[in-house]
């Protein structure tokens, strides 16, 4: 009885020489990505906290997130996301030449 049936997985890569500390490497990536997003995407955190069930703790966290969002914006960290989002909204609103802007 064969218990292990071979199958192809997208995460199977051609084997190379083993590279050290895979777990540490992966964890560092996740940590750096999270910190980067915390600094540059504070608005998403703020919006997420605003959506949570209202309560004293939620209100505290919301105030904190709002301050953090304002701070990251004031030092320019939140700017790239804001600009990108504005550009995306402009792309959403764009129409072909023959279409009136309010058509749809």
């Amino acid at each position: 009885m064969a218990d292990h049936h071979e199958f192809e997985s997208p995460v199977d890569l051609a084997s190379g020489e083993p590279l050290g500390h895979p777990l540490r490497w992966t964890t560092a990536i996740i940590a750096i990505t999270s910190l980067f997003l915390l600094a540059t995407n504070a608005i998403s955190l703020r919006e997420w906290i605003d959506e949570q069930t209202p309560g004293p703790r939620q209100a505290q966290l919301a105030a904190l997130a709002e301050r953090w969002d304002a701070f990251t914006l004031s030092i320019g960290l939140g700017l790239p996301r804001a600009v990108l989002h504005r550009e995306w909204k402009a792309a959403e609103a764009a129409r072909f030449g023959h279409q009136p802007a309010d058509q749809r």
Partner: protein
């Protein structure tokens, strides 16, 4: 709890840390942690469904054990006239047990998915023949992902019966069916794929982690940007009221839905595979550039591979598969595809979708058998024809009703040419969705091979920039994945 949300992101961070710290000391504890996490994930929809999940796992685990303890794992004794009567009895007992298990699984699935539909269809028939009654419609709430975990449990039990896998522990089987990355929308991961991985301490290597991160980010882009934008801005409004739009819009929305459903469903699979890989587990491939297919048979080797291979192994082959004459093969194809259609839900439109695929698969089969000429269709022509048959099927699949699908098709046939919905962004997204099928098939693994050598801070920043870009483009809010309803 939807994958592309901050709630899930925080949940996954906690699971990742716990599994690789507390769980790393003992594999059994790791599995218990994963099981609890999976129940929390599933319970976020409705805690009652967790009880159903546990109950389903218990049924399949106990029946598989009973089957395994009933002697030989093949049917030799049953077929062998000279076999001792005790062994014949055991073989009969095993057959009865597996039949009971299949019936129990189908009953659970049937009750939740088809009970109200069945009564709704039967009521007018009873009235027509003079037996009109108020039938007890229950407004049954469909547990998310029930089709997926039921198929997984059922295939485990059948595999034990066929002698393909050994019976596993209750913990392994419950985790197999509950494991949160695949729980609600697949891929359908079989016991033979996952249980042996559960029985060993999982290992992570840099290549696996790099590929996992790429899959998660790519999945986020496909779901949060392409699928959500196309759904909310173009596809949903047109399918809601096809009569309000011209043929140009209807055709565009049909192509849009083909891209949306691919980006939606393959995104879930990509993220599921990536999340499982970050926890050290491998899942099978579920999509392989499906709109690149040059025949419908080819399409089903590329689309929802875990379901098509499940239907092939447990239904099509069970019906006789490719044995017998061409008529038997076509019958088996039709039955398989009709049941595959109804697996998606209790709607006539799904049945017609399955029927269309079954019919075309049968025609392809007949063509191969009796081909009067030696030539085959040039590949680009085959690709175009296959794609448009698939798109035609998607119109039935997406339409709210059979009449809605017919309205949609008659709107296209009227050919007014009017197209007010197409915007530069919408057109761009549809083209990107189609272009994904023309790229090199193994582009992402090649990228991951390079990425695994890059220092973690650089990869972390790159991943952060990619997610920031996606978040800036995403549509406000995240719609549930299409396949959650199945």
């Amino acid at each position: 709890m939807l994958f592309p949300t901050l709630t899930f992101g925080l949940f996954f961070l906690c699971v990742y840390v716990l599994v690789w710290t507390v769980g790393s000391r003992d594999n059994e504890w790791r599995k218990i942690l994963l099981l609890i996490a999976s129940w929390i994930f599933y319970g976020a929809w409705d805690w009652r469904f967790v009880a159903l999940l546990i109950g389903s796992a218990l049924i399949n685990w106990s029946l598989a054990r009973a089957i395994a303890s009933s002697g030989s794992t093949d049917d030799e004794h049953e077929r062998d006239e000279d076999a001792p009567s005790g062994e014949k009895t055991q073989a009969y007992r095993r057959k009865m047990l597996v039949a009971l298990g299949v019936a129990a699984n189908l009953l659970i699935l049937g009750f939740f998915k088809y009970y109200d539909f069945f009564l709704g269809e039967v009521a007018p028939l009873l009235t027509d023949v003079g037996f009109g009654r108020d039938l007890p419609l229950l407004q049954v709430v469909l547990p998310v992902g029930i089709s997926f975990f039921t198929f997984q449990g059922m295939s485990y039990m059948i595999d034990v019966y066929r002698g393909r896998v050994r019976p596993a522990s209750l913990l392994d089987i419950t985790l197999l069916m509950s494991f949160f990355p695949h729980l609600v929308a697949g891929p359908i991961v079989r016991a033979a794929h996952l249980v042996p991985q559960f029985q060993k301490v999982p290992k992570l290597d840099r290549g696996m982690a790099a590929m996992a991160l790429l899959l998660i980010i790519w999945g986020l882009f496909k779901k949060a940007v392409i699928a959500s934008e196309l759904a909310t801005q173009f596809v949903d409004p047109v399918f809601f009221d096809p009569s309000a739009y011209g043929s140009g819009d209807l055709i565009f929305a049909a192509y849009g839905y083909a891209v949306q459903i691919y980006c939606d469903f393959s995104a879930y699979s990509d993220m599921a595979i990536g999340l499982a890989a970050l926890l050290g587990y491998r899942f099978p491939r579920n999509f392989d550039q499906p709109y690149r297919a040059v025949s419908l048979q080819d399409f089903w080797r590329r689309w929802h591979i875990s379901l098509s291979s499940w239907l092939r192994d447990y239904l099509y082959i069970g019906l006789g598969g490719n044995r017998g004459g061409i008529l038997y093969i076509c019958r088996n194809l039709m039955i398989t595809m009709l049941l595959g259609g109804i697996w998606h839900g209790a709607k006539w439109t799904f049945l017609i979708w399955g029927g269309l695929h079954g019919l075309v698969l049968s025609l392809e089969r007949i063509w191969r058998e009796v081909k009067p000429w030696r030539w085959s269709l040039p590949r680009p022509i085959g690709l175009l024809i296959t794609f448009h048959i698939v798109v035609l099927g998607w119109i039935f699949f997406r339409a709210d009703s059979f009449d809605g699908a017919l309205d949609y098709l008659s709107g296209i046939a009227r050919w007014t040419g009017k197209a007010t919905m197409i915007t530069p962004l919408g057109l761009g997204l549809v083209l990107i969705g189609l272009a994904m099928h023309l790229g090199p098939p193994r582009l992402m693994p090649a990228l991951a091979i390079r990425l695994r050598r890059v220092p973690a801070p650089v990869v972390g920043l790159l991943a952060g920039v990619a997610i920031l870009l996606i978040d800036a483009m995403r549509f406000e809010g995240v719609a549930p994945f299409i396949y959650y309803q199945f």
